[in-house]
């Protein structure tokens, strides 16, 4: 093994150690999202469900517009989806009151 290779290998090992140790010697910037509590996770899951239902309603509108579902199917499915949205929003409200929350978070997403 030549001297050059020894130097290269030593440099390689030193660089690896430096990269791995850097977070312990550098200041913690504290970036990123914080960890969630079980209550927050449950709330996120309900919000996901709500958004999925809104997306289903939008798809249903589109499918009715292009004639993929007839009027009766459209009405039936729309009623069912809206009832599910109401149930999900109700569960969100119940979750909030259980945790003593006062704010309201039921706004429709604006994207379509």
């Amino acid at each position: 093994m030549s001297v050059l290779v020894v130097i290269a290998v030593a440099g390689l090992v030193a660089a690896a150690v430096l990269v791995v140790a850097w977070p312990f010697v550098s200041p913690d910037r504290g970036e990123g999202e914080p960890a969630l509590t079980s209550h927050q996770i449950e709330r996120i899951e309900l919000l996901e469900r709500r958004d999925a239902l809104y997306a289903s309603l939008r798809d249903l509108e589109q499918e009715a517009r292009i004639g993929k579902v007839d009027a009766a199917e459209y009405e039936d499915e729309r009623r069912r989806l809206r009832s599910e949205v109401a149930q999900t929003l109700g569960r969100l409200d119940a979750l909030d009151s259980k945790h003593g929350s006062e704010q309201d978070e039921t706004a429709l997403p604006r994207e379509g």
């Binding site: 093994m1 290779v5 290269a8 290998v9 390689l12 090992v13 660089a15 690896a16 990269v19 791995v20 140790a21 850097w22 977070p23 312990f24 913690d28 504290g30 970036e31 990123g32 999202e33 914080p34 960890a35 969630l36 509590t37 927050q40 996770i41 709330r43 996120i44 899951e45 919000l47 996901e48 469900r49 958004d51 999925a52 997306a55 289903s56 798809d59 249903l60 589109q62 499918e63 517009r65 292009i66 004639g67 993929k68 579902v69 007839d70 009766a72 199917e73 499915e77 069912r80 909030d96 929350s101 704010q103 978070e105 997403p109 994207e111």
Partner: protein, 664 residues
């Protein structure tokens, strides 16, 4: 260089092991600095892999025959591009490439998620770190790419397998590897979701694009391999149900199933367990594919020599299956479906049937691959599973799958009425029946499977066309503008859906090409003397004379043939036999005249130097070009579907912000 590469590999092993341990500790202690350190270790490991690859490439380029990989897979006569491609022609080199792609994917995941998925990431890094440790351990200690030759250093190497000296071989293996290896990312996220209990949509959003990427790479890799086989191997076909071809097909089928069933989970909250099983299964199958190529248990043009890594890979597959099964069982209460299947005539049911057929086909292929191995292990006799077995299951499961490609996008979610089914499917169904009748009248009824496949292709193509036409029409009604603008707007607003439809269109092209070329091909084999002709399927080939050419690496003897179709002259074809003196091998160099209607495929099977005659095998393969065209359409559709949608990320961020704001 060899010493530096070896040290780099050992360093990768140490960094990967550290990343695994640090990530687990970071998850348990919720230690952010430790997590950043683990992430940095992943990035450093990737840099180490790149350095090791660079060292091996330099050794290959410099003809350093003191290194076994260089001596066994290159020669002084080999052109530079194939010397460099020898990196993945050797087992140690291919293992190094596997490791590099894995570390690259892990590094990209770390960079993508620096400020996201804080709860999942420690476990994602831990799982990827485990895999990196296993593969770097194999590469550094069991199958080292920088091992020296035993005994005296040869003056020249043994050369590269001539079949691998083809431009497609510079692209086919790396593309496939990317497909195999990146399936580790969805697997890692799935395991992280199970460990943390975060089985909501976040992990799905994180892995959907990675799965799509793996799936595209596997699909394109298989097509590149098929084209290589077609132009290089010289038997007239493009897919031989070789165990190693099958090894790539199986995870592709499982990933296809996942990409469809994930929509049901997103839309209906159903199939959560199934999706976990599919992600784990797809990754286990990708490891199985690696095992097949590297263990030497199957005889294939792709496989390497018998080696020790096979046992380690089998152990890894067992660990993946046991751990994922245990975690899924542990988290079953969290994976309950939010809805039940209400009708078998619904889009979710169609997706479920599609999944079952895809998995059934994958298992049929798996059995075909495994049976000879089991038969040899149990009875001591090696059986072979040949093409008719696979063709049978391809027809039995493939035709219903093709039908479902047409049905799925058109049928309503939850339940479809008879009236809507008639309204939606009358034109596609009538067109398919009319096409079938017309083709039968034209004399294509000799293969019922071929005729059915053609009819179903018409059915699917019409449904896709109607989807685009209706969508664009609705968009024009809402926003006005021209048809092309409405179409572009439609695809832009629903990239995933319409990208998917374009991929479906590529499957139609693929099926057309495969069906026509396999069910309706013509073949002739004869010996011709100068001036004599052969007639086949409207083509005439006249043998003129022999010709010779040579370069530093090989010498070729060619038969010069004049080709005509009817009264039109198609020019000359020169199929040949190439001798590679270093490798001591002779290969067929086929010559193909391609057209949209069909390929005229010529093989020189023998030369009679005394009589001046040549033995030729000639095939007319209809519509093969559609298979390669399907690859291009597949790529376009896949890229549209995979293109990031900022609305999704914004919606996710808004949900999190809303939840955190409430608690502030």
């Amino acid at each position: 260089m060899a010493a530096l590469g070896s040290v780099a590999l050992i360093l990768v092993f140490a960094l990967a092991a550290y990343a695994t341990v640090a990530a687990v500790l970071a998850a348990r202690r919720r230690d952010r600095r430790l997590m950043r350190s683990a992430s940095n270790a992943v990035l450093a490991a990737f840099a180490g892999c790149l350095l090791a690859c660079f060292c091996l490439l330099v050794l290959l380029a410099r003809h350093d025959f003191s290194i076994a990989v260089v001596a066994e897979h290159t020669s002084r006569q080999l052109p530079l591009r194939y010397r460099l491609a020898a990196l993945w022609a050797s087992q140690p080199g291919s293992l190094l490439l596997w490791l590099t792609v894995l570390c690259g994917a892990a590094a990209l995941v770390v960079l993508q998620n620096r400020h996201r998925n804080r709860e999942l990431m420690p476990w994602v890094v831990a799982v990827l770190g485990c895999l990196m440790t296993a593969f770097s351990g194999m590469s550094a200690f069991i199958s080292p790419p920088f091992a020296k030759v035993v005994g005296a250093v040869p003056a020249n190497g043994f050369g590269l397998d001539p079949a691998l000296q083809n431009p497609y071989m510079t692209a086919h293996p790396p593309t496939l590897y990317m497909g195999y290896v990146t399936l580790a990312v969805p697997f890692a996220f799935a395991m992280a979701a199970l460990v943390t209990g975060r089985t909501d949509a976040r992990w799905l959003l994180a892995v959907r694009r990675w799965t799509l990427f793996s799936w595209m790479c596997l699909g394109l890799g298989m097509l590149l391999g098929a084209h290589w086989a077609y132009v290089e191997i010289g038997w007239g076909g493009y897919w031989g149900w070789d165990p190693v071809e099958n090894a790539a097909l199986m995870p592709w089928l499982a990933a296809t199933a996942f990409l469809h069933s994930v929509m049901v989970q997103e839309k209906k909250g159903m199939l959560k367990v199934w999706n976990m099983v599919l992600v784990s299964g797809a990754f286990a199958l990708s490891l199985f594919g690696t095992f097949l190529t590297r263990s030497g248990v199957v005889s294939s043009i792709h496989s390497f020599v018998q080696s020790d890594v096979g046992g380690y890979l089998l152990a890894m597959i067992a660990v993946v299956l046991v751990v994922s099964t245990a975690l899924i069982i542990w988290r079953l209460p969290l994976l309950r479906s939010e809805h039940r299947l209400e009708s078998v005539v619904s889009r979710e049911a169609t997706f479920l049937f599609n999944n079952l057929l895809l998995l059934a086909l994958a298992f049929a292929v798996l059995w075909g691959v495994v049976f000879p191995i089991l038969s040899e292990a149990v009875r001591g006799v090696r059986s072979t599973v040949s093409t008719p077995y696979y063709d049978f299951f391809l027809v039995v499961f493939g035709l219903p799958l093709l039908f479902l490609i047409g049905v799925g996008p058109m049928i309503a979610w939850r339940r479809a009425s008879l009236g809507s089914l008639v309204r939606v499917f009358r034109w596609p169904a009538l067109s398919a029946l009319a096409a079938g009748a017309l083709l039968a009248l034209l004399g294509l009824g000799s293969s019922w499977a071929g005729l059915t496949a053609f009819s179903l292709c018409v059915f699917v193509a019409i449904t896709i066309g109607l989807e685009f036409a209706r969508g664009a029409s609705a968009r024009r009604a809402l926003e006005g503008g021209s048809w092309p603008r409405a179409l572009v707007g439609l695809i832009g607003r629903n990239r995933r859906r319409y990208g998917g439809y374009i991929v479906h269109l590529s499957i139609v092209l693929l099926v057309l090409g495969v069906t026509a070329s396999s069910a309706y091909s013509s073949v002739a084999e004869t010996t011709l003397r100068p001036g004599q002709s052969l007639h086949l399927a409207g083509y005439t080939l006249t043998y003129r004379h022999l010709a010779h050419s040579s370069n530093t690496n090989s010498t070729t003897t060619m038969a010069v043939l004049d080709a005509r179709r009817g009264d039109s002259t198609l020019g000359q074809l020169t199929p040949g036999r190439r001798v590679y003196p270093v490798e001591q091998r002779v290969t067929n160099e086929v010559d193909i005249r391609s057209g949209l209607r069909g390929d005229l495929y010529t093989i020189l099977e023998g030369v009679d130097p005394s009589g001046g005659g040549v033995t030729l095998k000639v095939l007319v393969n209809p519509m093969v070009s559609l298979i390669w065209l399907a690859g291009a359409v597949f790529l376009v559709g896949g890229l549209i579907a995979i293109w990031p949608d900022p609305r999704e990320a914004r919606q996710l961020a808004r949900r999190y912000a809303a939840v955190l704001a409430r608690e502030a």
